[in-house]
């Protein structure tokens, strides 16, 4: 039977599960690692339940805690990624379990473009990849990114600009986007 702490904890954290899991995935790019990070966050947060109860915006607080956990454990995650790569199954992990060709919305060209985007994102630095994903995939505002990673808005803005430019460059180089003006 759940204790009162368990119930209070669930009430505070459950509304943020989806957003936190998405953040975990954007940080780690791998499902198993995203789940590990999410789990570790919950364990740590439960240990700080007394603080959590008094936090005005638990979602942001939990997201920051997750980001810090990830940064602290980055070497571990990077090492695991390397092992996965050695096993030859890193490619496409991000696409595993996604809708396949039987889904009408999933046409071949689009799939190829997503693959190219996946590869291009992996060529960005960790900072650039994260910022572009948070901003353009998750819809975080600049202030939210500032709050999460602890750098000024101006820095977030310039990193985002550089990240997008680099992404465009990579995708143009590999031919994903044509450079002609036939529009």
């Amino acid at each position: 039977m759940a204790g009162s702490n368990d119930i209070a904890f669930e009430k505070l954290v459950r509304p943020h599960f989806d957003r936190l899991y998405r953040l975990a995935w954007r940080l780690t790019s791998q499902k198993a690692e995203a789940e590990d990070l999410f789990q570790e966050l919950l364990i740590k947060a439960f240990g700080k339940l007394d603080d959590l109860i008094h936090i005005e915006e638990p979602g942001s607080w939990l997201a920051r805690m997750m980001y810090n956990l990830f940064v602290d454990e980055r070497r571990r995650y990077a090492r695991r990624r390397m092992h996965t790569l050695e096993e030859g199954d890193m490619q496409g992990d991000g696409l595993a379990g996604l809708p396949g060709p039987d889904n009408p919305a999933w046409d071949h060209e689009r799939r190829e473009r997503i693959k190219a985007l996946d590869a291009a994102l992996s060529k960005l630095s960790d900072e650039h990849r994260l910022i572009v994903l948070l901003s353009d995939s998750e819809g975080y505002k600049l202030e939210e990114i500032q709050d999460l990673i602890g750098v000024p808005v101006g820095t977030v803005k310039s990193r985002l600009h550089r990240a997008r430019a680099r992404l465009r460059e990579i995708l143009s180089e590999d031919g994903t986007f044509s450079s002609d003006t036939s529009c």
């Binding site: 702490n5 339940l49 991000g94 986007f177």
Partner: protein, 182 residues
């Protein structure tokens, strides 16, 4: 005009990239994952809180245990009772003569994948690891007292402090041993 044309291309590409990024997919969490994660968190969180108290107690006791083992190997301290911090224990070694010291780790429960790191001062070596000032390995602890013999060799007359740090999850405990070479 040429620059304007380039801007148009870049704008178009930016729009396409942003549209792709907006729909950049991610797999859903495994079925039932959130519920399981919640249960594990409350159980594990409670366990860690309990262990934090136990560690506070037995950490000091283990330090005391180290001294007792080294001075004669009798009278082990009770592991779950806090005791006052003892002064840093010390031993005197003879140059080039191996000496085994026994670290005693008392654990309230079995611990898998704990990491033990031994830091050695210059001139003190661990048998089997010549020239290494830092030796780390993974180990498992049984519930109760665990004995770890470390064979040390003094290769210079300077001595120093040996630090042994045991880590498990987010907990850690460091034991210090002063080594004099006579």
């Amino acid at each position: 005009m040429k620059i304007k044309g380039l801007d148009i291309i870049m704008d178009k590409q930016d729009q396409e990239i942003r549209a792709l990024l907006k729909d950049y997919p991610m797999p859903e969490a495994s079925a039932g994952f959130f519920d399981q994660a919640l249960v594990r968190a409350t159980h594990e969180g409670s366990r860690r809180q309990r262990n934090r108290w136990l560690m506070t107690g037995f950490g000091s006791a283990v330090a005391a245990g180290l001294v007792l083992w080294m001075v004669g190997g009798f009278l082990l301290a009770t592991p779950d009772l806090p005791v006052a911090d003892p002064a840093i224990p010390g031993i005197t070694m003879t140059l080039e003569e191996p000496r085994t010291i026994n670290l005693v780790f008392a654990s309230a429960e079995p611990l898998d994948a704990a990491t033990l790191t031994v830091l050695l001062p210059e001139g003190i070596e661990m048998s089997g690891f010549p020239g290494q000032r830092e030796v780390t390995w993974e180990t498992s602890l049984r519930a109760g007292k665990n004995l770890l013999p470390l064979k040390l060799i003094a290769t210079s007359p300077y001595g120093g402090e040996v630090l042994a740090t045991l880590r498990h999850d987010d907990r850690g405990r460091t034991f210090r041993l002063r080594v004099d070479v006579g």
